[in-house]
Symmetry: C2
């Protein structure tokens, strides 16, 4: 059903622009008065532009974080990391019931790749996408099952990045 | 000067997500209360989400179009197309004087590739970017001189696209 409308997008790759592309789709959707729900996995910082902008865009723009403020150690995740990711996925299931026009599952690819959440549960969620909802999955290392399942897949390929040259993360650009 | 801060971003490639990434950066910047000016080359449709959203985000979010409503025939552009693109570039020069935090030059890569605007003029504009302004250049077929000049370059590589399977452009997603 979702399959026919092409409504599962996936952005992956090592290049910059995966998360930010999803937020661009959010902005576009808001322009049409659509409802957008964003769920961020493994992220918990609220001083980021995409979180702070909700003050201006509520109630059509909802953003919910399921991660710690600190960076997660993906090679050695803590029980809390699993717990938060699991809560994020449960929240996503409930969010779909509200039939938003756009549901963004930010960093879910990486969360699935590192088994913070079960791939089968993500696939099951994708089988329950309402007809008029577009779901966007972002994150590096997208498992091949998600790539197969998605209708639109773009790989962000890094050609040049200034942070590799020692430029610090800039407010309003990298976060 | 701009070079040191890494403040020229370029998004190119045949994959989806170039323009929309720029709008994601706009959303992020707005969250921090930053000022964003967007100039669209070769685009003139105002029923697109990224145009309509300005009602909600003015005055920090400005968007100006320098194109016709119809698709441009890049192989055979009309005098009006050249005129509009030239006006867009002039407008961009003036916009920089306002020192916005973010200036998006949407589709400028393609406009330069098809010589609607002079590459030298674009390079000159990039030499006059204020210290605290980030400029984003989007569009397919970015001339190599622009790639060399940019600090951050991402290529969007298409892996799968539903419109190739006959799915029509969807409001709030493709426009």
């Amino acid at each position: 059903m979702g399959k026919k409308r092409g409504n599962i997008h996936l952005y992956t790759g090592e290049g910059e622009g995966k998360t930010i592309t999803a937020f661009g789709l959010a902005l576009r959707a808001l322009g049409h008065g659509h409802k957008v729900i964003i769920i961020q996995f493994m992220k918990g910082r609220r001083d980021i532009g995409e979180y702070k902008v909700k003050r201006r865009l509520s109630p059509e723009y909802e953003i919910h974080q399921f991660g710690r403020k600190e960076f997660i150690d993906l090679k050695n995740p803590e029980p809390l990391d699993f717990e938060l990711a699991k809560k994020g996925l449960e929240f996503a299931k409930k969010a779909l019931k509200k039939k938003p026009d756009l549901l963004i599952l930010d960093e879910i690819n990486l969360a699935a790749a590192f088994k913070l959440i079960k791939l089968e549960e993500v696939l099951e969620l994708l089988n329950n996408v309402p007809e008029n909802t577009t779901v966007v999955l972002t994150g590096r290392r997208a498992p091949k099952e998600l790539i197969e399942r998605a209708d639109l897949v773009t790989e962000m390929k890094e050609i040049k990045h200034p942070m590799k040259k020692g430029v610090l993360a800039r407010r309003g650009i990298e976060y």
